[in-house]
Structures are given as C-alpha cells and as structure tokens.
Symmetry: C2
Subunit: 178 residues, 2 copies
DNA sequence: TATTGTTATACTCTATAACTATA
DNA sequence: TATAGTTATAGAGTATAACAATA
C-alpha cells in the first residue's frame, strides 16, 4: 500500500507509513514550519503552490515594487513587446484570462500610458494592442530585471536542474492542450 | 498591493539555452495562439502558473467537485489529519495564508462540521484545530482520491521525472524564510 | 509589550450575462 | 448568426488595521 506512485528520490520527506513527528526527518522542509506534510508530498498542486511562495516574493521585490507591475501585467507587457499587432482576443486566449478581465487590465495599463489600442482597419471589431514609448521602455527594463530575478529564484539549482525544472513544468502544462 | 498569480498561459517554446538531458526528449512547441512567448520562458513564476492550469482542472474534477473542497481546504484537512494539536498560527505560516484568512477558512470548515477548535489550556491565546469524525472521514477519502488524481496529472511523466519534479519544486520552496 | 486570534474594511481577481459594433 | 470587445455585477481571495484576550 505505497502512497507514492513514483520512486523516492533524495529529497522527498516521508514514506507511506510515516505517521508522526516531522522533526525526526533529517532535512525538514523549512516551509513546513514543523508540520508533517507527508500526505501532501505527492500532490503536485501543493508543491506548485509552495514553490510559488518565494517566487512571488522575489518577483515583488524585483519587479512588482520597483516597476509597479503585477505578474499578469508584466506578462502582458512581455507578450505585446514581442508580438506585433496582437489583439485582445489573442491575449485573452494566450493568457487564459477572460475578455472582460483583459479589458480591465488593458484599461489600467492604458491609463498609465504604457499601452494603446488601435482599431484593426481590416476587421474593425478587433483592436491591436501596442506599447507606447513609455511602455516599451518599461518592458525592456522589466525583461532585463527578470533575468537577474531568476538568478535569485533559482540560485540553489544547478544549470541542469533549472533546465530540467522548466522542461518538466512545460510537460505538465501540455495537459492544457486537451 | 496584492500580487495576483501569473496568468495561465499557453506553452512557450522550450528554453533554447538548455542543452538537454537524456531524461527528456521534449522539443519546442509551436508558439501557442500564434504568439511569441520566448521572453517569458525563463520566468519560473510563469511556468508554475502554466503547469497549475491542468493541475487545478484535474483537482476540481477529482476532489473540488465531488468532495466540495477547494485546494486550500483540502490542504488544511491533510495537515490537520497528520498533525496533532496544530494551531491556526502554524497553519497560517505553513500555507502562507494570513491569520484573518485562516480564521475565515476554518469558520467555513467548522460550519460544515469538518473541524473543531479547542482552546490550548497551557497557552489560552492559541487554539488547537481538530478534525471531527465527519472531517476525518472526508480527509481519508480526499487523500485516497488524491492518489488517483496524481496519476492523471502526471501521466505524461515517467516515474523518475515525477520524483525529479517534486524534488526540484521542494528545492525552490526551501527559499522560504519566515 | 508581544502574541494569538477575530472583526471590519477595502481592494483585486474571476465568472457571467447582457450589451455594442462589426462581420 | 457569429465574433471582438465593453459594461455591469456578484462572488471569492487577500491584505491591512484595529481590536480582544492572554502571555
């Protein structure tokens, strides 16, 4: 009656019969705050959420605070910067953010004069979203900072581990294609 | 000032700088929805959000809907089930959820008669959170289902890859200080 | 004075429906 | 009739401050 479908590697904390006392572990997870998390160690969603805590904190330190950008806003700027004539519909689909939410997000960015909307003349229902000069400058800065930020996020991982982590996450994300 | 999660985004191309590894033969995906997302491929928070999309979807199918538990509620039940005399403060820290939010979450679980609070007699400021009989039954069921759920979440990964992914996420989570 | 937990408040994200303007 | 985008609204999540009880 094994709890884990996959083989234990070096770090995972406990096995199926582990019932008590998280502190008896040689390397207790600091994130656990002394709690036994063995019944959650196989739950990917839990591990994603735990990993997201320091990642968000570091994002806020490097980009959120200094550049006044939330993650979704940062992502939108990156996508607009790298895609000519992107429409709101495309952003909505690519970001899996509802159309009303995209409207509100772009309203806010437009109010800060970071983006503008230009009506698509070949199909006047849609609009192209563009960076202003100010927006392009901020996007460039944000991308630059993101490179430094990732060094802190992943500083305890080797280059091979970083690549492996990204690749495995993308493999999981591939489910979304369904 | 609240930070909202990275948006759910479709797959970006694989990291071009990653020199590869025998463990995975993943190849770059065609840009989703015709958008170039390469400027985000190195951003871990973005990759976490992507992976979280199918993970959440499958969670709701297996646990969220059938057992009427949101992810944070599921997690709380698991932690209470495996930790005697856990306090709200411990839950708050372990889950990185604010104290007021823990209060509200436990209020809701208590209203469903899944948990009870018992004043700690040695330090009457704190309370121990316990599962009721009904809560223990639900927690057992939820844990059982979570094992099946993970098989679907990770069905595209080999056993070695699953272990590696969990291990790497825990390594990132270890950044947490507090 | 500090800590545990609660209450109150405000702001954000999300989901949905209804609306417009175009096609 | 279908699509792109907007507006309106309600629900849920979370952050913060102020507060109570206890240490």
């Amino acid at each position: 009656m094994s709890m884990h479908a996959y083989p234990a590697v070096s770090l995972p904390p406990a096995d199926a019969d582990y019932t008590g006392d998280a502190m008896s572990n040689a390397k207790p997870d600091p994130a656990a705050h002394g709690l036994d998390q063995s019944s959650l160690s196989h739950v990917l969603g839990y591990q994603l959420a735990q990993a997201d805590v320091p990642v968000k904190k570091i994002f806020f330190k490097y980009i959120g605070q200094p550049l006044q950008l939330r993650p979704v806003e940062f992502t939108i700027l990156m996508l607009i910067a790298n895609n000519e004539n992107v429409t709101q519909k495309q952003l909505s689909q690519a970001l899996a953010v509802s159309a009303p939410n995209i409207t509100i997000l772009l309203d806010r960015l437009a109010e800060r004069e970071l983006v503008t909307r230009v009506r698509n003349e070949t199909d006047r229902r849609s609009q192209h979203v563009l960076l202003t000069r100010k927006g392009a400058t901020l996007a460039r800065k944000a991308h630059e900072v993101s490179l430094t930020m990732e060094q802190e996020v992943l500083k305890h991982l080797s280059d091979a581990e970083r690549g492996m982590l990204i690749e495995l996450l993308q493999k999981v994300a591939r489910h979304r294609r369904i």
